[in-house]
């Protein structure tokens, strides 16, 4: 009695609903408003792109020794070429810049070793967090092992930018952890101290902190004791990002289920043991994207040191553009700075997104 059901074959969709034509129709021309928007967008692209290409590539001058030699009417990239060393290293003596290069290569190698499975991660972390900074400092500042002393007032350019960003984030990390733990603790005084610190710092702009570091810290130190301006600025930046870091880490701590704390307690672990062995490893892993975002913010903010008279990448470019023989090359300078900052920040934000995606699946069963 029963008839067998055979599903009829799937047909290809009508041509006007797939393919390039349909795509155009749906994505660009689906309504009169959309047609208008499409043409408006095309007009904007037409306004922006060809002139920029013409200026930056077609009519650009790539070499020369002064602005006067840039006669093609386009960008004067020769400016960047001439000042390139300064933009990278500041006034660091030319014959000593190999020291910076070595330190950078060393760091890259160390970080890359993380990917190697057989290496002991603990020792490697110690090497990076403890040994490397010392080595790098000796390399940068000199004064030992026959290295010539290079004063910090000569440090500048991208080197200084990266230094400020990296030191700021690395140094603020432990402080941020402590502040976050303090804010989460149930000891009222410790808690309020942390809250007051975090909220005060977050309420004021970085500039005021930098001014404090460069102008006010000396007033608070006993007479005769004073430290280097770079160090003061680093302290300022570290305190600043520690407050933001603390909030990011606190988010991670809050995301750890209560059961984890209880299980650790029930096993007899002490507060610090359970934090270090159980809670923090999980919490920190969760907030890596947040930490990267904080770093991106901080990296952009390092430009503010220019206002307190340090010459990072942007500062160097700004100063160079006042050079008499290169007047009128501001845009080239900004374009170059923009390219570098953008590449680094965009790269990092992609990286943090990738981590975020990986974390989403990481805790699941696989």
């Amino acid at each position: 009695m029963a008839i067998e059901f055979k599903p009829s074959p799937s047909l290809p969709p009508p041509v006007n609903s797939v393919g390039a034509v349909a795509w155009l129709r749906q994505n660009l021309l689906s309504s009169p408003l959309n047609v208008f928007l499409t043409f408006f967008s095309l007009y904007i692209i037409y306004l922006l792109v060809p002139p920029v290409i013409e200026w930056g590539l077609v009519n650009a001058t790539w070499s020369g020794s002064s602005k006067a030699e840039c006669t093609a009417g386009g960008a004067c990239w020769a400016f960047i070429g001439v000042y390139f060393e300064q933009f990278m290293y500041g006034l660091y003596p030319e014959e000593e810049t190999w020291r910076i290069n070595i330190a950078v290569i060393l760091l890259v190698v160390l970080v890359a070793t993380f990917a190697v499975k057989s290496v002991n991660k603990l020792y490697l972390s110690i090497a990076i967090m403890v040994v490397y900074p010392v080595v790098a400092y000796i390399l940068f500042a000199g004064g030992a092992f026959g290295l010539e002393i290079v004063e910090t007032s000569l440090w500048g350019g991208l080197f200084l930018t990266v230094l400020l960003g990296v030191v700021g984030i690395v140094a603020s990390f432990p402080l941020g952890v402590l502040l976050a733990l303090g804010r989460q603790s149930n000891m009222p005084i410790a808690k309020s101290v942390c809250i007051v610190f975090i909220e005060t710092i977050r309420a004021v702009p970085l500039i005021t902190i930098l001014f404090m570091a460069s102008v006010m810290i000396p007033l608070f130190l006993p007479e005769g004791m004073n430290f280097n301006k770079l160090l003061r600025v680093l302290i300022g930046i570290t305190l600043f990002s520690a407050a933001y870091m603390a909030e990011v880490i606190r988010g991670g701590l809050q995301a750890i289920p209560k059961g984890q704390y209880e299980a650790a307690d029930a096993m007899g672990l002490t507060y610090w043991q359970s934090m270090i062995l159980v809670i923090l490893p999980q919490a920190l892993k969760l907030v890596i994207p947040g930490i990267v975002n904080t770093f991106i913010g901080l990296f952009k903010d390092t430009t503010l040191v220019y206002i307190v008279g340090m010459f990072d990448l942007l500062g160097r470019i700004q100063a160079a553009s006042h050079d008499a023989s290169w007047l009128g090359t501001t845009i080239e300078g900004y374009a170059f700075a923009g390219f570098i900052y953008w590449a680094i920040c965009f790269g990092m934000s992609r990286y943090s997104m990738a981590i975020e995606r990986k974390l989403e699946t990481g805790h699941k069963r696989n």
């Binding site: 994505n27 967008s41 309420a203 500039i207 005021t208 006993p222 007479e223 903010d301 430009t303 501001t330």
Partner: protein, 391 residues
């Protein structure tokens, strides 16, 4: 059972409560000690160097000019007045920036969601470019690079009575003559009428269901009545027109490039973050809500206005608040391009002329602190108002 020696060493230190207490007392002592140490250093440093302290300097004449002042200010005024001028400049640029950034951010955020591929891509490029560049760089760009490209005052771009050149944007400055009170009265009256119209329209709708385009027509009423009263009173308004003079364009109202550059940089930069927030907020509203609204016959514009936006706002407000706070704090970068805001006037000039580092920096931090606090309070209040009632 094997009886372990029960730890009866109920020593004071092993008590959890006591430990916490001791730790906290130590912490407090440390904080107090460090505070005291720094303070006493400060005292002795100030004494040794003969630097006077206190806020009395605020009453002394400042002696320096300020480019932009919205309240009366001359060099003869006091530092206190200068502080106030700078404070107003900071608040004004922050508020204007917040408004502009929000408008622009919402537009870009919606553009990113547009079903027009090209528009969405352009918006993405905007967001990814601006938010990955340091704000200071953008300010420098808007100030130094764009400034260099503008014409000299003598070759100003002129549009009607508007001038654009390196010195800023000049526009006619209205000067109100005697009969202007009449116009103001007309304006106020028309607003009252408009409100009445809206109330009436709502009532009528409740009763009869008939719709009257109350908002548009009240807008029309306000314009018409105001214009009419202008005509009747014989245009009691004169314009101080900008004119070319020896050095500058004089007269009129001017927006100096410092102001414009800070405003543009702040609002375009923050807009790139707000756009992402708006996008995420709208995406967070379940598609089912849109479908439900559509199946009730609501037009798409109404669906957005009545259903999607109110729900998206709930998600948008908290991160938006922190963007507003960032913007207010970032306004301090204006100092780098000669916009006379707090940092420039107080921590720059005043600090230098008086040497009162503690007081000036303290004042600035206080102002930023309260600015942040008031923005947070306002937004929290608004957030609470908007939040959903759940079971």
């Amino acid at each position: 059972m094997i009886d372990k020696t029960p730890s009866n060493n109920n020593s004071f230190l092993n008590d959890a409560g006591n430990r916490a207490l001791i730790f906290q007392i130590l912490l407090l002592a440390l904080v107090v000690f460090v505070g005291y140490y720094l303070f006493s250093n400060l005292q002795s440093n100030l004494d040794n160097r003969g630097i006077s302290t206190g806020l009395s300097f605020l009453n002394e004449p400042a002696g320096f000019p300020i480019l932009i002042h919205l309240i009366e200010y001359t060099e003869a005024n006091s530092y206190g007045r200068a502080f106030l001028v700078a404070l107003i400049n900071t608040v004004v640029i922050s508020l204007l920036g917040i408004v502009l950034a929000t408008v622009l951010g919402v537009i870009i955020g919606l553009a990113r969601l547009s079903n027009n591929w090209l528009v969405a891509r352009l918006a993405t490029v905007y967001v990814e470019t601006l938010r990955n560049l340091p704000l200071l760089l953008q300010m420098f760009f808007w100030y130094f690079a764009v400034l260099a490209a503008l014409p000299h005052p003598r070759e100003s771009f002129i549009f009607a009575d508007f001038f654009l050149n390196k010195r800023g944007i000049y526009s006619p400055n209205p000067i109100f003559q005697e009969g202007f009170g009449f116009v103001i009265a007309g304006f106020v009256l028309s607003i009252v009428a408009a409100i009445a119209l809206i109330v009436w329209a709502k009532k009528r709708q409740t009763k009869t269901g008939l719709w009257f385009p109350a908002y548009w027509s009240s807008f029309g009423i306000i314009i018409a009545v105001t214009l009419l009263s202008l005509v009747i009173s014989g245009f009691p308004i004169e314009f101080d027109l900008p004119q070319k003079s020896r050095f500058n364009v004089t007269g009129g109202m001017v927006l100096p490039p410092e102001f414009v550059a800070v405003l543009i940089a702040l609002s375009t930069y923050t807009a790139s973050f707000i756009a992402e927030i708006v996008r995420a907020g709208i995406l967070s509203v379940n598609w089912g809500q849109t479908e439900a609204a559509r199946s009730l016959g609501l037009k798409d514009s109404l669906t957005q206005r009545l259903i999607v936006l109110p729900q998206a706002l709930r998600v948008i407000i908290p991160p938006l608040t922190s963007q507003f706070l960032n913007l207010a704090k970032n306004s301090s970068l204006g100092a780098a391009i000669a916009y006379p805001e707090l940092v420039a006037v107080v921590m720059g000039t005043t600090l230098n002329q008086t040497g009162q580092a503690i007081e000036t920096i303290g004042l600035c931090m206080l102002v930023y602190g309260s600015l942040s606090l008031s923005i947070s309070l306002f937004m929290n209040w608004y957030n609470k108002k908007m939040s959903l009632i759940e079971r």
